[in-house]
């Protein structure tokens, strides 16, 4: 899941200051699940923006709407009418959704969220980063724990000297990914895996090769 957090209200007020009619657009996918941009957050932000506008004596009209998914053109097409009546769109989707909207419509589109990372939920209200999208997954040889996403230095062959008592030197809140990998391999009886040298990573499959694209020949026309 893509995780995100809402931007500070001041920043959003700055974006919409020139406009009177705003379409505030939520997304019912990842950002709903990480409680950043679903219907509830849309409602809360709409109220906050209205209150702030009224406090400063400004008249602003905010239309709330939430799409099933903002990163697909078909869904985005659904709001053509609403966008037509608005001066600007504030999207509560991740960066993908914001761009989908911006590509489709000739109106200003502003992000309401800071898209953070690909992660999973640890428990209610807590999410952590699990995947860096490097394009060449190593999890099969690292006991299911990713050293790219979870090691501060993205080391490929064991921990650095900053690993102590299982935690990373950057902060005690971060467990050392390689410590975790070792414990996991030990538990699985696969410590020989650790002895295998992982060669230097080719970052071309990550962002090193520029913007990426997937084309499924069998599906794409």
């Amino acid at each position: 899941m893509i995780t995100a957090e809402r931007k500070p209200l001041e920043e959003l007020l700055g974006y919409i200051a020139p406009y009177g009619r705003i379409l505030l657009l939520g997304c019912n996918e990842c950002v709903t699940v990480c409680a950043a941009g679903g219907r509830k957050e849309v409602g809360l932000l709409a109220s906050a923006l209205k209150m702030a506008a009224r406090k400063s004596g400004k008249d602003v009209e905010i239309v709330e709407h939430t799409l099933e998914r903002q990163c697909d053109p078909e869904y985005v097409e659904e709001v053509a009418g609403l966008v037509g009546q608005a001066d600007a769109v504030v999207s509560m989707a991740c960066g993908c959704g914001v761009q989908q909207m911006a590509m489709r419509y000739a109106k200003p589109v502003f992000p309401a969220l800071n898209t953070r990372f690909m992660g999973g939920s640890e428990r209610q209200g807590v999410w952590d980063e699990r995947c860096a999208g490097c394009g060449n997954c190593l999890l099969g040889v690292t006991g299911g724990i990713c050293p790219i996403a979870r090691c501060a230095k993205r080391l490929m062959n064991g921990p650095c000297g900053g690993s102590a008592n299982g935690v990373c030197e950057i902060t005690p809140d971060v467990p050392c990914a390689w410590h975790l990998i070792w414990e996991r391999l030990e538990a699985l009886g696969q410590t020989q895996q650790y002895m295998e040298i992982i060669p230097a990573k080719d970052w071309k499959t990550a962002q090193g090769g520029g913007p990426r694209k997937i084309i499924r020949e069998d599906l794409a026309e």
């Binding site: 709903t32 699940v33 409680a35 219907r39 509830k40 957050e41 939920s121």
Partner: protein
């Protein structure tokens, strides 16, 4: 639940007397699906309680609280109520009684009478209220909202029968009606005929017969009441002026030896007088001085001691420990003189008062006594029936039970408890009568019409006098969607009836209703029933609680109060306009019961339930059954507690319907009445049980305060241990010369502010037992107020006759106890001699009473989600009217877990709790109110937040139809959240947290809340 062996007997219970006790017993039976006939000699049911103005300790007017019980709707056809009816003869025996009933003519056809009041207006001489102060004839409509809601005529006072017949617009008057005799069969009989109040007319020294300003406490109560002869104004009968000083004299006709007074204590009068004194100051005039002359202040009930403290400290009620010997009014003087003597000053004191109230006690009614004699019930010399020492509701005749004041003076909660206990035993003898329940199906219109709202402003006399109801109606009429608005006076003999309201609302085509009045808790059901009759969904109603939330709290600020009332009405209107019709959820019930606590109370409750066919799980945390009663030997009446205990334990362990779990604790719990699921730790192993009802009988802990060398000196012990010494170490007891008992040790103090109730009788019991073994011993009982209520008073009298010395001590001068060689020296101050006395005691018995088992109660309260009192006892739902029900439906409390009490009272409560539990277990299905959460599956993002936040673990993300037992078969629903209405508690946490706004809580949908808020904050939004 049907026990086939009982089918031989007649399946009906006859309840004689329609006061609160009779009503409760009849309702318990009817709710447990037993047929019951309720007869009362009065034209309508209600008894004494319907004449009260307020009731202690809440000081509420409880007429509205009682009214729903007395209303006949919805008893499933099991309850047959007959007014003006007496039982003339009874024959047969348990299982097959034949009762002869005589019904006097009412001269009014109840089916036709609409209680319009036209006959009252045209023929007031045939019509009245009473008692006492009203000179007119008995009685037309005894109290507002009487059941049956119809007038009655005293034909002897009517001169022109034809004119009377014609005055009735619906032709309900039948001047030629004749008395009707009838015989009915019944399996058992509950006598709930109440008691009379002592008539003080012959006590010339109190001047009751001669002085209009000397009244009885019930007459004073009527003067306070809004429905009373003075319309709720407190005025001196002699001159119509408000009184400045009022005195109460306690124990008139009780605790006496002469002039017809009873030897027992009437139990309720101390609280009654305190209540009247508080209400006088609170509601009428802070300036009225209130003085109570008392012998012992007997506030022994649950939290009653706190009420006494409040009366003294908060309301400034003056208490004088004295028994006035004269009430005089010299010639030409406008005031009454009360003459009395104080303990410490042996001289006459004369004090002037404007009014004197005589706290008259209870007395056996002659007709009731005759009926009891006819039944062959053994009676005491004073006419009250004798009851078993472990079963206060069982008379000497099998199948004949008693409850309420017919069994002896008592207050309302004790009456209610006995009534339920009697219904448990009487109902146990008869089988359930299957009758189809005529439950109205939920009305779910296909299309929701445009809202047309009817507004009812319900007023309640004195209580709501600050509200300008007319202005409120005018205000309501101007609000959009309101099609009609009216005032409905619920308390004071109003001519407007629910029927006429119904026709008004229907004529205007109302499809939603707003009630601006009292708490929805008591009133809502009544109005929902009205909606049902009108064909409107019962959830299209909203209550603005302007009685409690405006009138009660802002009574002294009329302007602001009325503004707030308008605002609350507007909010309720906004809410009801946004409301949706909803359907209830019907579920099948589980008929097992859980009883927590294996003492005498728990075992008794379990046995009563098991005997009536329920499967009972009895959970005890220790290794054996018995509880605190294991320390007891005998009751004050001589009842053998050890034999009782052995019998109960054997029956319980051998009963096929009871499963006993010892060394067991409750660890988790979920569900609702009829469908509970409770996790037990049985000697360390987890076990889950399912049950429909639960009874808490977890007991209390004998108090062990650090005081008077307790635990330090072997000659100082508590009453429990003293009882053991007397029964087991006779040689030692025979050598004793002096024994001192000290009362209220660790009770009625800052740490434990309540009275432990049982210690006064327990020290007298021990004193009598010691004297039996050693007649030469001198026994001193040092007490604060001797609380030998009811028949315990007779043992107090006996102890004094045998020479036990009772000495009052005050808290600012408590007795001193110090070790002196082989003895213990007790020093106390004798008020009459005015000096200190030292007693070298062989034994000091401390009345240490009970404290709540705070820690274990807290743990249980947390698991079950139940409230505790400040002291740590389990809190009942309503201190007055629901003494064994708990706030959580399906849960009941009995025994010392509720508050300290003596063993027979615990057993009565156990039976009462069983009776109440049977009303839940007798139902095959349970209607779940529609206030559960529901998921819009099209919106649900299956994010799991509801699953994680639900405190009751109810929401599930559906995987397949079978896997999670959910009822959704809709493919589109799979992979979405599902909330089982049967399990949802309606707390709304999930609805608040759902990030997709897919969950709404019925009755509290966003649209409704936002509409209310918009209305409330309308000015801000402008």
């Amino acid at each position: 639940m049907q026990n086939k062996t009982k089918l031989q007997s007649n399946g009906t219970v006859l309840v004689v007397g329609g006061g609160l006790g009779g009503i409760r017993a009849a309702l318990d039976l009817a709710e447990a699906r037993k047929d019951v006939i309720l007869v009362d000699k009065a034209p309508c049911i209600g008894g004494l309680m319907a004449q009260l103005d307020r009731t202690f300790p809440t000081n509420n007017c409880d007429l509205c609280t009682v009214a729903p019980f007395t209303a006949k709707e919805g008893r499933g056809g099991h309850l047959d109520m007959r007014g003006l009816t007496t039982v003339t003869a009874v024959s047969g025996k348990e299982g097959n009684f034949t009762a002869s009933l005589m019904t006097a003519p009412r001269f009014i056809n109840v089916e036709k009478c609409t209680a319009c009041g036209e006959c009252l207006r045209q023929f007031p001489q045939c019509v009245s209220f009473a008692p006492g102060l009203d000179p007119r004839a008995p009685t037309c409509m005894r109290y507002p909202k009487a059941t049956p809601y119809a007038y009655v005529i005293d034909m002897a006072k009517c001169g022109d029968k034809e004119a009377l017949r014609k005055c009735c617009p619906v032709g309900a008057i039948e001047p030629d009606a004749l008395p009707k005799a009838e015989q009915v069969q019944c399996g058992s009989i509950i006598m709930a005929a109440g008691a009379d109040l002592f008539d003080p007319s012959h006590l010339d020294y109190f001047g009751y017969a001669a002085q209009p300003d000397v009244v009885t406490s019930l007459e004073y109560e009527r003067m306070l009441s809004a429905s009373g002869p003075t319309g709720g104004k407190l005025l001196r009968p002699s001159n119509g002026q408000p009184p400045k000083r009022v005195a109460w004299i306690q124990c008139v006709g009780s605790r006496g030896l002469q002039k017809g007074a009873a030897s027992y204590c009437s139990s309720a009068c101390c609280m009654f007088a305190l209540k009247e004194a508080i209400v006088t100051r609170e509601r009428f005039d802070q300036g009225i001085e209130t003085t109570i002359f008392y012998m012992d202040m007997r506030t022994f009930g649950k939290d009653y001691e706190k009420y006494l403290t409040r009366a003294k400290e908060q309301y400034g009620v003056r208490l004088v420990h004295a028994r006035p010997h004269d009430v005089l009014r010299p010639e030409g003087v406008d005031k009454l003189q009360v003459i009395y003597t104080l303990d410490e000053a042996p001289k006459h004191i004369t004090e002037e008062f404007d009014m004197v109230v005589l706290s008259t006690g209870f007395k056996m009614n002659a007709d009731v006594k005759k009926l009891a004699e006819d039944l062959g019930v053994e009676l005491y010399a004073d006419g009250f029936p004798k009851t078993d020492c472990f079963n206060a509701v069982a008379t000497s005749v099998p199948g004949v039970y008693v409850c309420g004041t017919i069994q002896g003076g008592k207050d309302i909660p004790e009456t209610m408890t006995q009534a339920s206990a009697a219904s448990c035993l009487a109902g146990g003898k008869v089988a359930i009568t299957p009758r189809p329940r005529a439950e109205a199906p939920a009305i779910m219109p296909e299309t929701v019409e445009a809202p047309k709202v009817g507004v009812l402003v319900t007023m309640c006399g004195q209580d709501t006098s600050v509200i300008d109801s007319k202005a409120l109606v005018e205000y309501a009429e101007k609000i959009p969607h309101v099609v009609c608005a009216a005032v409905f006076d619920t308390s004071c003999g109003c001519a407007v009836t629910l029927e006429s309201l119904k026709s008004t609302l229907m004529a205007k085509g109302c499809n939603r209703v707003v009630i601006a009045g009292s708490s929805p808790r008591y009133e809502l059901g009544k109005y929902q029933a009205l909606l049902g009759q009108m064909g409107i969904n019962k959830y299209l109603i909203e209550v603005a609680n302007i009685r409690e939330q405006v009138a009660w709290v802002h009574g002294d600020q009329p302007q602001e109060a009325n503004a707030k009332a308008r605002q609350m009405l507007a909010v309720a209107l906004a809410n009801v306009i946004a409301a949706k019709p909803l359907a209830d959820h019907v579920v099948a019930t589980n008929k097992n019961a859980l009883v927590v606590g294996g003492g005498v109370t728990g075992m008794t409750a379990a046995l009563e339930l098991a005997d009536q066919g329920a499967q009972v799980y009895l959970v005890e945390k220790s290794t054996e059954l018995g509880g605190v009663a294991r320390n007891l030997v005998k009751t004050i009446e001589g009842g053998d507690v050890r034999a009782l205990l052995a019998g109960l334990a054997e029956k319980t362990t051998k009963h096929p319907n009871i499963k006993v779990f010892t060394k067991t604790q409750v660890v988790d719990h979920s569900g609702q009445a009829g469908l509970f699921r409770t996790g037990l730790s049985v000697d360390g192993a987890y076990k889950e049980i399912e049950h429909g009802a639960a009874i808490l009988a977890t007991g209390a802990t004998p108090n062990q305060p650090k005081a008077f060398l307790l635990g330090e000196n072997s000659r100082v012990c508590n009453q429990l241990d003293l009882q053991k010494v007397v029964s087991e170490r006779l040689q030692e007891v025979k050598k004793w010369n002096n024994v001192v008992m000290i009362q209220c040790v660790g009770s009625r103090d800052a740490d434990n502010p309540n009275c432990s109730r049982l210690c006064c009788q327990s020290s007298i019991k021990n004193a009598l037992a010691i004297l039996k073994e050693n007649p030469n011993v001198r026994i001193f009982v040092l007490y604060r107020d001797l609380r030998t209520y009811g028949r315990f008073e007779e043992y107090y009298q006996k102890a004094r006759d045998l020479g036990v010395i009772f000495v009052r001590y005050k808290t600012d001068n408590p007795p001193q106890v110090e070790a002196a060689g082989n003895f213990v020296n007790v020093t106390y101050t004798d008020a009459i001699m005015g000096r200190q006395v030292v007693v070298s005691a062989d034994c000091v018995g401390l009345s240490t009473g009970f404290v709540a088992s705070r820690e274990s109660n807290q743990a249980l309260a947390k698991v079950f989600g139940l409230p505790l009192t400040e002291d740590g006892y389990f809190a009942e739902m309503h201190v007055k009217l629901r003494p064994v029900d708990m706030d959580k439906a399906g849960f009941f409390v009995a025994g010392t877990a509720h508050s300290p009490k003596v063993i027979f009272e615990n057993l009565t409560q156990a039976r009462a709790a069983a009776s109440r539990a049977l009303t839940v277990l007798a139902n095959d299905t349970l209607v779940r109110e529609a206030n559960f959460a529901h998921v819009d599956r099209n919106r649900c993002a299956a994010c799991l937040i509801c699953v994680r936040v639900c405190p009751f673990d109810v929401p599930r993300i559906t995987v397949d139809d079978q896997g999670l037992g959910c009822s959704c078969t809709d493919d589109k629903g799979l992979g979405r959240s599902y909330i089982d209405p049967a399990k949802c508690h309606g707390c709304g946490t999930c609805a608040a947290e759902c990030p997709a706004k897919a969950i709404q809580l019925n009755q509290f949908e966003d649209a409704q809340i936002l509409a209310s808020l918009d209305q409330l904050l309308a000015k801000v939004n402008v």
